[in-house]
């Protein structure tokens, strides 16, 4: 089963996301900030990371940069999922190594579409 790490400081968002990803056949774990996500990622890389931007302790962008610097850290597919919806933020995320970008609010259809394009699910 493919694994998905959900990184968001909102418990509500994590719950919604978990529901969507579990329905799509992922086994999910959660972190409430970038630091905890980094620790979890060092234990075992997930196949996929759903990543919020603004979080206390360590934000999503810093997590992503740190992840990509780990040996093997280019493996996980990272999808940003944030209310930041301007081109500058999106460019910055892609520049730091994000594979996809979801602008909140999102729903199951959007997630499914992104996963299909990334080849993580059959169309």
């Amino acid at each position: 089963m493919k694994t998905c790490l959900i990184v968001d400081d909102s418990r509500v968002i994590r719950k919604v996301a978990r529901q969507i990803f579990e329905t799509l056949g992922f086994s999910c774990s959660e972190s409430e900030n970038g630091q905890l996500a980094l620790e979890a990622s060092q234990q075992a890389f997930p196949d996929l990371v759903l990543l919020d931007w603004n979080m206390p302790v360590m934000n999503g962008l810093d997590y992503l940069r740190a992840l990509r610097h780990l040996p093997g850290g280019d493996g996980p597919v990272v999808i940003f999922c944030t209310t930041e919806n301007d081109m500058a933020h999106i460019q910055m995320a892609l520049g730091a190594g994000a594979n996809e970008y979801i602008m909140k609010p999102f729903d199951a259809d959007i997630v499914r579409g992104k996963l299909e394009q990334l080849g993580l699910m059959d169309a």
């Binding site: 919806n85 301007d86 081109m87 999106i90 460019q91 892609l94 996809e100 970008y101 979801i102 602008m103 999102f106 259809d109 959007i110 579409g113 992104k114 299909e116 394009q117 169309a123």
Partner: protein, 280 residues
């Protein structure tokens, strides 16, 4: 709603668009017509039916029909037909049309334009091999509102996230407001949109190398599907390609087209040689 009014309205809608409304849709019809009743300063649906019995008011008929059609669409819908277009159909045409350097593509029942623009984005991505080529992409739809929307190339944040990879959003769109995105002029100029009714006047003429006609035949009865497929076949060269939606087929409906084994959703004119395509 009175049964005789439902019969009249559903018959008119069927005549104009091909859309089949079973009696179970009476409630839907009623709820969707509320705004039209109001707009025409009428009180009830009975008034609408009565007005149509007295006079064939084309504007009113258009309004009623458009209220009942489904316009849902999204970028790169179902993905596979677009991969097929990019990897097989387009390269085959680049070879087959090498002397003319002209390809015509029709997005029939284009709705708000996502399908036509997805094809345009693929052509833009393939621009290196299309240097000096003329690529015409034409989208048609019955609904005037949809054609107007498609021409603007403006989509909500929600719409640009359904099916569209973020890299293509960055490359081919500009953000015109917090949650509104518009296709860049260079992309919009690749596509034309027009009104067209697949049943009567499709809104296009000449010959199309590739026709996308997806998620519209499902709303029609078999004779209507057959008529539309015949119309399309008359607008296609012997080596043309037709792409239908995932739940649509030509089988048992029209003998103008045949299936391409192994390529779900792809159909070619019945007279086409079997081995020439999709060999990639």
């Amino acid at each position: 709603m009175k049964a005789e009014d439902f019969d009249l309205l559903s018959k008119i809608i069927h005549q104009r668009s091909g859309l089949v409304l079973g009696p179970e849709k009476a409630y839907l019809l009623e709820s969707r017509l509320v705004s039209i009743v109001r707009k025409n300063n009428m009180k009830t649906i009975e008034d609408v039916a009565q007005a149509l019995r007295i006079k064939r008011d084309e504007a009113l008929i258009a309004d009623i029909t458009e209220a009942m059609t489904t316009n849902e669409s999204f970028f790169f819908r179902d993905q596979k037909p677009f991969t097929l277009f990019q990897k097989n159909l387009l390269p085959a045409l680049v070879t087959a049309r090498a002397s003319r350097k002209h390809i015509r593509i029709w997005s029939a029942a284009a709705s708000s334009g996502q399908e036509a623009y997805s094809l345009a984005m693929i052509c833009a991505e393939e621009s290196a091999r299309l240097q000096g080529w003329r690529i015409e992409i034409i989208g048609t739809d019955l609904s005037r509102d949809m054609v107007t929307r498609a021409k603007t190339g403006i989509y909500s944040q929600f719409e640009v996230q359904r099916g569209l990879p973020i890299t293509l959003l960055m490359k081919y769109f500009q953000q015109i407001a917090g949650d509104k995105w518009q296709l860049k002029d260079s992309l919009r100029q690749m596509v034309q949109f027009r009104e067209g009714n697949l049943l009567t006047d499709p809104g296009v003429s000449g010959s199309f190398d590739i026709v996308f006609c997806r998620n519209v035949l499902i709303y029609f009865d078999i004779p209507t599907k057959g008529r539309v497929l015949n119309t399309i076949s008359g607008l296609m060269p012997p080596d043309g390609s037709l792409i239908l939606g995932g739940a649509e087929t030509v089988l048992g409906i029209s003998d103008k087209f045949k299936v391409v084994p192994g390529e779900h959703g792809l159909y070619v004119p019945a007279g086409a040689p079997t081995q020439t395509r999709a060999s990639a």
